[in-house]
Structures are given as C-alpha cells and as structure tokens.
C-alpha cells in the first residue's frame, strides 16, 4: 500500500504503481456510473443515434472551427487591450478598462443574446456564425487581456532599467525582454482559456449556431434518446480539451526555469 503513495522517502513513484492507481480510480468511477445507470431503469437504444452520426460529426467540426477562430481573435484582442490598459493616452486606457470590466462582469449567455439580437441587429450584421465567433473572442479577450497585463507588470522594474541602460528602445524592450518572458508565463492560463472557449462555444446554440451541443440536442429531440445523445457529447468535448491540457503540461515543463 505504501508504494502507492507519492514521494515517499523522496523516491520517484514506480511506473507499476502509477498504472495500478489509475486502474483503481477507473474501476471506482465505472462502478459508480454503472450503479447510477442501473438505478435508472433506462432502456438504452444506441441504434437510433448511430443513424444521426453525421449530425454529431458536423456539429463537432463546427465547434472546432469556431473555437480555433475565436482563440486567434481573442489573442489579438487580449494583446491589444493589455497594451491599451497601460497606455499613457488616458481615453484609450479608460476605454480598455470599461471593456474588460463589462465583459468580465456579465454572463456570456447575456452577452451572446445582446450582441446578436441588439448590437449586430443595429449594425445590420446578419451572419450569426461571425457574430458568435466575435462574441466568444471578445469574451475570452477580456480575460486574456488581464492575464497578459499582469504578466507584463510582473516583469521586475530592474529588468526594464537594465534594458534602458544598455540602450534598448521601448519597442525593443517589449520585443526582446518583456514578451518572451510573458509568453512563457502565459502558457498555462492560455491553454486553460482555449479549453474554456471550446466549452463556452456550446452556449452559441442559443442563437441557433449549429455547433456540437445543438446538434446533439436536436438528435435527442428526434429520438428521445437523451443519455445516448448526451454521453457522446461529453466525450466529444473531452476529445478536444484533454489533448490541450496534455500539451500545456508538456510545454510548461519544457519552458520551466527559475527566475
């Protein structure tokens, strides 16, 4: 039993111990789930949703596309906003602050409804996919802006002093000193943000964007196979978010160094 404890006597844990531990946990989870489902007296009907596999796939692809587009856009928005927050031009600084506080202080669902039915409508923007991606980007962008800004501010003043002393311009300082370090710091929260975007994209179903969740809900509406529709839905999202967290941990380890 003591071999299943981590870091005992400072020795690294054996691979065998890791495998056994994962196995035990998986066994426990499986036991819990089969107990819960057996209590349900549910008539499982997988054939019904197998018919609709095309819908699941299409929805999943749409989620991937929307999330990727939103990630890129939110990075740009976040970066520009972080710089604006530190600008010496006061109106710009205040505009950025207003944007960040508003977005972070309201639920995404509310933002989706307002941006599509009120704002986009006023500007005559029809395409709900474009508006959906913009909404997600603005949402994630606000959080990213704060992460980037605090990353920039965490760079010690002494480094900026050194940069000045050796004759680097402001732009050069950002490029060679600040951003390389901030980028490294940002890897964990950034990948967390990407996973969030993927999950939050499910809310776009509310404005009839045909992404993964809506498609699964439609299949449920046609076949009344609720669990058979929603379990693949969960798995589908995990297929996207698990690799991201794996990549994040690998990158973190690679770029880890003491400061």
């Amino acid at each position: 039993m003591k071999h299943l404890l981590i870091n005992i006597d400072g020795q690294p844990v054996a691979v065998a111990a890791r495998i056994v531990s994962w196995f035990l946990v998986a066994l426990l989870a499986a036991a819990m789930f089969s107990f819960a489902f057996s209590q349900l007296q549910y008539g499982w009907e997988w054939s019904a949703i197998w018919q609709y596999r095309q819908k699941f796939l299409q929805g999943w692809m749409m989620t991937v596309i929307i999330s990727a587009a939103a990630l890129v856009a939110s990075l740009v928005i976040g970066l520009l906003t972080a710089l604006a927050r530190r600008s010496s031009f006061l109106p710009l600084r205040y505009a950025a602050l207003l944007y960040v506080e508003t977005i972070r202080g309201t639920p995404l669902l509310v933002q989706i409804l307002i941006l599509f039915y009120v704002v986009a409508n006023a500007f005559g923007v029809e395409n709900r996919y474009v508006v959906g991606i913009m909404t997600l980007s603005l949402f994630a962008g606000a959080y990213l802006a704060e992460m980037i800004r605090s990353g920039i501010e965490s760079i010690r003043d002494s480094q900026l002093e050194s940069a000045r002393a050796i004759g680097l311009t402001r732009v050069q300082t950002y490029r060679y000193i600040i951003f390389p370090q901030v980028a490294r710091q940002l890897i964990p929260p950034l990948t967390g943000q990407f996973a969030s975007i993927i999950k939050d994209s499910s809310l776009l179903s509310i404005i009839a964007v045909s992404e993964f969740t809506l498609n699964a809900q439609e299949v449920n509406a046609f076949t009344y196979s609720t669990l058979e529709s929603y379990l693949p839905l969960a798995v589908g999202y995990l297929l996207l978010t698990l690799p991201i967290s794996l990549i994040s941990r690998t990158l973190e380890r690679r770029f880890h160094f003491a400061t």
Binding site: Y42, Y117, E126, S205, I207, A208, L214, E218, A221, Y224
Partner: protein
C-alpha cells in the same frame, strides 16, 4: 366481573383505533403532470408565478376525477418525453401533438384538440405557402423538439433550418428579419402575429393538420383508460367549451370571422 369487562372494552377500543388509523395513515400519491409553462394561454404562469392556463385546468380536473392531488412539473418541452420515460412525471399535458414517431416512445390518449402547423412570416416575405419557402436562401426558424422542427428537417430539404430553444427567440428572429418564417401551431402563430403586427404577417391556413393528446408512459393501460374516459366525460359536460370561452374567446371569435374551424 367489572375488571373483565373493562379489559374487553379497552382491547376492543385499541383494535378499533389501530384499524382506523391504519387506513388513515396511507397517503394519496399526487398526480405529477409535466408541461412547459411557456405557452400561453395553455401553459403559463399567473402574476404570482403559479401555473395557470388551459392545460393546467385540464390537469386539475383530471386529477380530481382520479381522486389525487395535482402537481404541475414545469419542464422544457424537449425534456418532457424523457421525463415521462424515466418516471419523473406521470402524464404530459403540454399541447403536445401525437405523432407516430413519438408514439414509439410513449403512449397517447385520445386527442383533445385539433390544430395545425402554420407560418409566421417576416414583413417583406413574398411566400404564399410552405413550398414557396423551400429554397436555399430561405431561413426557417423552428422550436427545438416540436412538430414544426420535425416537419422542417424531414420535408424542407433546401431551406436553412434555425433551431431555437424558445418560442420567443424564434419570433424575435422573424420580426428582425433574420428568419423568413417560423413554423408553429395555429393558435400561437395567431397570437405572435397579433403581438408583432408591425414586423410580421401570417398564413393561418394549416399546411399540416395535427391533434394534441395527453402523453402517458408505455405500459400504463389503466391510467390511459382513465384519461380517455375523463376526456370523453369532460367534453360531454361542455368542459372544453367553457375553457375555450374563458381563455381563447378573442381567438375563437377571430377564427370564426376568418372562417377557420376552432376545435377544442
């Protein structure tokens, strides 16, 4: 002598008390009726937030006829059948159309209302009927899980289908011109048009006839028979007519004027 009499009396009283309380202790199981309280005037909430409407009254009367207290369970429309299947509700009275597809999962009572699918159109739409709308550039709004949704996905192959959660969202889409039409039942389409006269128009001739029935879990023959008996009786009593007069008077008159049959 006296003592024996007293003991006999006490025993008798005790036995009586126990048998009496035994029958009194057993509680009556409430009748849980599932409906989505977002469909006036059939399923809605009054100002105090309590369930009200035609379906609520039907449910109350039905429960009374079965001698059970009624509990209204507010559930999203596309969650009603799953709730029925898993036993979370005993009946579904939610203006639900009886379709062959749904009948595979649950049982239906005899129909209690006739209606049909109609179209709420955006102001500048030139469509005259449902076939006019089956074009690639046309966007049709439907509410998830309704017969309108099923009709659109199975029968309209060229048009784009916008699947929305809520009736209000679908109406908004049409009134903002984001959708060309909203397929929904005749009565609601009429009401939505009334509320959005400036931005919408209607075609109130149903292109698909439907009837509403009460949803019952499969295998529950006794309950189904009780419900059918109730519907027959209630109609004979004039119960449905009264409900129609109370909740749908304006619509009744308007339909009469327009020459549409009104079946409740």
């Amino acid at each position: 002598m006296r003592l024996r009499g007293a003991i006999l009396l006490m025993t008798f009283a005790t036995v009586l008390a126990f048998t009496g309380s035994a029958t009194a202790v057993e509680p009556v199981k409430p009748l849980i009726v599932g409906m989505e309280l977002a469909y006036p005037p059939f399923e809605m909430t009054d100002k105090a937030g309590k369930p009200s409407g035609v379906s609520v009254e039907i449910a109350t009367e039905l429960a009374k006829s079965l001698g059970r207290p009624v509990v209204i369970q507010n559930t999203a429309f596309d969650g009603l059948i799953p709730a029925l299947k898993t036993g979370k509700v005993d009946l579904v009275i939610s203006s639900m159309t009886a379709t062959a597809e749904r009948a595979k999962s649950i049982d239906f009572s005899d129909p209690y209302l006739s209606t049909g699918l109609c179209l709420l159109l955006k102001k500048d739409s030139s469509a005259k009927n449902i076939t006019d709308l089956d074009k690639a550039e046309v966007k049709i709004a439907v509410k998830k899980g309704t017969t309108g949704h099923i009709y659109a996905t199975t029968r309209l192959k060229k048009a784009q289908i916008l699947v929305l959660d809520k009736e209000s969202a679908a109406v908004l889409e049409v009134s903002q011109g984001k959708a060309d039409a909203f397929i929904y039942d005749q009565m609601s389409t009429y009401q939505n048009w009334q509320r959005n006269k400036a931005t919408t128009k209607v075609i109130l001739e149903p292109f698909q006839r439907e009837s509403w029935a009460v949803g019952i879990r499969k295998g529950n023959e006794t309950l189904k028979n009780s419900v059918n008996a109730f519907i027959k009786e209630f109609r004979a009593k004039g119960g449905f007519d009264q409900l129609g007069d109370r909740y749908l008077k304006e619509m009744k008159d308007e339909f009469k004027r327009l020459g549409y049959p009104f079946f409740l």
